[in-house]
Symmetry: C2
Subunit: 311 residues, 2 copies
């Protein structure tokens, strides 16, 4: 990141854990962006103009050209709509908004205003994903299995909202698996049926199983928020040339008869690279498929009430 | 309907109540269509080539140019995909498919193949809807109330599936209200919160309430499947120039200080008029907004378990 004349003057909205762990290092390493301002209720950064919210930032920092939103999805619509109305390019953390209608409305607003809208899905930029897609391009795909099992208490300690209405429950991590699989498969991913287990007194599930299809391939997903011990973020693809396996959330790729491939984590560096390219080209990238599958699962799914849960 | 050289040779798929009550009379009255074939497991029409399913119809009636699907939404994806792959224009009853992912996939397939895809929403063609939209165009809209209350036992006797997974429950009629309101309001309709009451042992709700916004206007919906006696399908819109009211499912329009306007039911005549125009122009009309709001309500909504229900 540098104050180059040609660099995109960016405002970062929502200075929480994901901003500090991922967005700030990625921006610092990319010459095409300069961090001009932040908006956050509580946090600020040294030597960067700080505002309490996005509307104050837009009013106070007229030099801004783009914003990146790392706030929770609930409330992100109004922030993105303000930014688009001010003529700013917008990058959204995953999932891009709280509802599908919100994303559709933002897409129309961005098109009308001629600004870039980028719905980012960081797991798609994991090191193994692009090579997996390339390897699968000429294979017959017979079956796909998503196993996404993690410990809610370890990764979301005390986050009661994640089991509330609109909190997505186990689909909060599971949507990462869906973002990868919609990227690596050629044929559209369609939900056939789903069940989910919602703990007594909560609104969102701790467990879910999805039965899907992609062309002739059966695609199953097994999402579990109660796995202690080793954590599982694996995708297995059976093909006519053997099984491809992505593990560790897409960062490790195993091809038949080859040693596992690993590479450093560059997910957010790649997201900002893509955002810079979209802005330069005057394009948008709005892909709602992972969220559509989640909404389809809530629409069609059978629900069971499970044991009460506390953090 | 006539065997004119220029008429669109159409196959009708699903010969049930809605086909006989609405589609066949509308087609019979429209010179731009000729009914060339039907596909139905059990039913057939005099003097029209009959096939047991759409794939047999496509194989047996190569002269077909278009199909209209009146089958239930579950299963319609495969039928529409077959028709598009065969180069046929496709009109879909409401809701257009079982899931949002299915519609998105069909839209991409139709675009790639260069055929027309038309997601029809018959309630939008009710007599009062277009004049309501025109009257609202220059008004300030303050509040909108949808009241959609009907008797499931009267309109869906014994249809157990409607309360099963993917049956939509009270959203089956309620989506008609959402199709009207997304047509008459200028600003995008966004869901804020929802609750629904699902009877013990069922998957889909008998009652739902939605809190939405459209620009600065609060939009509320009250859907009830247990209303006996007079039935209610009303939309009220408070504006700076008084209240507009649509009743009887959009067929009666009341404007401030004017007598109610009624006109004959031409919903399906208008749908086929629109389909003929789209085919002639080489365009598609794929509008998923009513289904998106329903999916958003399932995604965000709070659920309560209500008393068991039997037909």
């Amino acid at each position: 990141m540098a104050g180059m004349a040609g660099a995109i003057r960016l405002g970062l909205v929502g200075i929480g854990k994901i901003a500090r762990d991922q967005h700030l290092p990625a921006l610092a390493a990319d010459d095409r962006f300069v961090l001009s301002a932040t908006a956050s209720r509580n946090a600020q950064l040294d030597q960067v103009a700080a505002y309490p919210d996005i509307d104050a930032m837009i009013a106070g920092a007229p030099e801004l050209q783009a914003v990146s939103l790392c706030t929770p999805p609930d409330g992100r619509y109004a922030q993105a709509a303000s930014a688009i109305a001010a003529g700013l390019h917008v990058m959204l953390e995953k999932p891009p908004a709280a509802t599908l209608s919100e994303i559709a409305a933002l897409e129309a607003q961005a098109r009308a205003k001629g600004v870039t809208l980028f719905t980012s899905w960081h797991s798609r930029e994991a090191a193994g994903v692009a090579p997996a897609r390339d390897w699968l391009a000429d294979k017959r795909i017979d079956a796909v299995r998503l196993h996404w099992r993690e410990d809610i208490r370890r990764w979301h300690p005390g986050q009661e909202w994640i089991l509330g209405p609109g909190g997505f429950g186990v689909f909060d991590p599971g949507i990462n698996a869906l973002s990868i699989v919609t990227k690596i498969l050629r044929e559209p991913l369609l939900l056939q049926s789903a069940w989910m287990e919602v703990p007594e007194g909560r609104a969102s599930p701790l467990k879910a199983e999805l039965a899907m299809r992609s062309g002739d391939a059966a695609v199953t997903a097994d999402f579990d928020f109660l796995q202690t011990g080793p954590q599982t973020w694996d995708i297995e693809v059976d093909t006519d040339k053997g099984m491809l396996k992505l593990s560790m959330g897409g960062s490790v790729l195993e091809l038949p008869g080859e040693a596992p491939q690993k590479a450093p984590d560059r997910e957010y560096a790649r997201l900002y690279d893509r955002f810079a390219q979209l802005v330069a080209a005057g394009d948008s990238d709005v892909d709602v498929r992972p969220l559509q599958i989640v909404a389809d699962a809530f629409l069609l799914g059978e629900r069971r009430v499970g044991e009460a849960f506390s953090f």
